[in-house]
Subunit: 340 residues, 2 copies
Amino acid sequence: MATINDIAAKLGVSKSTVSKALNNATDISEEMRKRILETAVELGYVNRRLQKKEKKLCILVANMDYDTPNQFGYDIVIGFKQMAEPEGWTIDTIPLTKEFQRLTPYGVFMMEHGYQAAFVMGFSLLDPWIEEFRTTRIPTVLYDNYVKDNPHVASIGCDSQEGFNLAVRHLVKLGHKKIGLISGPLDSYILKARYNAYLNALNKYGLEINENYIGLGYYVAESTKTYIPKLLKEGVTAILFSHDIRAISAITECIDRDINVPNDLSIIGFDDLPIATQADPPLTTIRQDRIALGKCGYYAMTCLLNQVPIGSILLRAPLIVRESTGPVPAWSDNGTFPSL
Amino acid sequence: MATINDIAAKLGVSKSTVSKALNNATDISEEMRKRILETAVELGYVNRRLQKKEKKLCILVANMDYDTPNQFGYDIVIGFKQMAEPEGWTIDTIPLTKEFQRLTPYGVFMMEHGYQAAFVMGFSLLDPWIEEFRTTRIPTVLYDNYVKDNPHVASIGCDSQEGFNLAVRHLVKLGHKKIGLISGPLDSYILKARYNAYLNALNKYGLEINENYIGLGYYVAESTKTYIPKLLKEGVTAILFSHDIRAISAITECIDRDINVPNDLSIIGFDDLPIATQADPPLTTIRQDRIALGKCGYYAMTCLLNQVPIGSILLRAPLIVRESTGPVPAWSDNGTFPSL
């Protein structure tokens, strides 16, 4: 384990300068402080005094809203705090831009603020800190992201495979054979996982896998407009969506085009956002229990803080059947949807 | 939620008789007590009074030894208790035969003893209670077993896929191309998982999958004797084993046959039992950190007891490189091992 002496020796500065930097004293230059913190992180220095003084955690959020109850991240933050606060932790929730991540290394940021562990939400594979998570020694829990082989980093999320298996089983029972997928682009760990879960679920139930049944696109409304008619032309009678937002956009698109959901087309979302019940028809979807996800994040962190090197925790992903799914439509006997 | 009245009505007995049975009073017949408990379980009755009085958990063990430090289950039990006892739980560790499971349903057993949750170790798919785990409403954590869709049951274990990926990567770096598997029969969830992990790992590294490189058998010594020469004849230069015990039996077999480990054949175990370091040569193996597994079992149980419906927790499975693996042998240039 590196000591203050090691840091001082490496930088050729005095022990007291290092000590000042590590304790956020104001009488050294910002530049020197940063160099010392970076070196401390690099050498694997652990600031034990700081850690014992305060129990401080942070929730780091990128690309995700969490301010109001209707936003995806809101309940996750609540669930995490419900478990962590009674155990005496102070928790800061911090939104992060890519810009900020590029300017300050993760390890330096954590040491600067005296955070002992982080719960990380919403990061895409393009976020700069992802690279640092591969090697960090700070207990770090990632929601819907995964880093292999690092015993200090754990992953939590809903079991996409279980969810899609339940969704496809439900559709198969209703007589559907051609099942499509409309999803965001595969630049995130979780969308790749859901894409694979879709393929595995079709495979499990002996259904045809056909790339023409799949639509990937960044922009929600645009890709809905493009893919709904395309998939119907292919004879697809039911579509799984990577998110409720996309599924609900598809319901709107179907109304505009006089396509009846579920009589002409069955639609299944993923998330079970509050808005899912208010859709017309109410959306059949795979639930992510977000309060439970937040709690789960805290349990995973407790494991890491107690040197139990877990890799992942998967939460159950039940299918909530509402009214956007129904029996396979009669038009499918003729191959493609008639009125396109 | 069912009440004492519901149980009494269903059986046509008085409320006080039901109450006696649920409180283990001695003045009713054993037969009546059992019928009442079975009905209580069937109706989903929860004995809240009992639950509040005492914090009681059980560890249920089948097909696994745990009495002495060298036995596989020992450290798992220790790890579990290290987490659970400081939180005020009383823990009974109970070995179970199939016979006992057939005579007493799981739910009845748990209610009879006032256990609020169970940690289940070593069960095979043939153990009678496995069926009940699919539908039970009692928080139940399974080590190395999995039940789908039941939010009251969670699974914990080491990440076989991560372990086998690391093992195959290590062998590929050493130049090996034909990698075999010797495993117990696929009548357990975990051996099926390891079998699939083996296939996936070969696939990931672009290696040949060949059923002649695989040996499955119940009896350790017998299957080692059969498969070591068979796999060498096929040109296999490295073998993964489902357990350290099998890998160590293979080392012994190789000594008897004048096959040098690792110069003629590389061997990798799974478990990292204390005995792995004492083998000659010391065994390269995938570690199951058993203290951490026990702790993990308790964390999973805490999740279930707090209505966080996790499905699984996977622990990291690091590769511990010792001396039973080495560079691909020169004999492999000629296809099969010469002296068989």
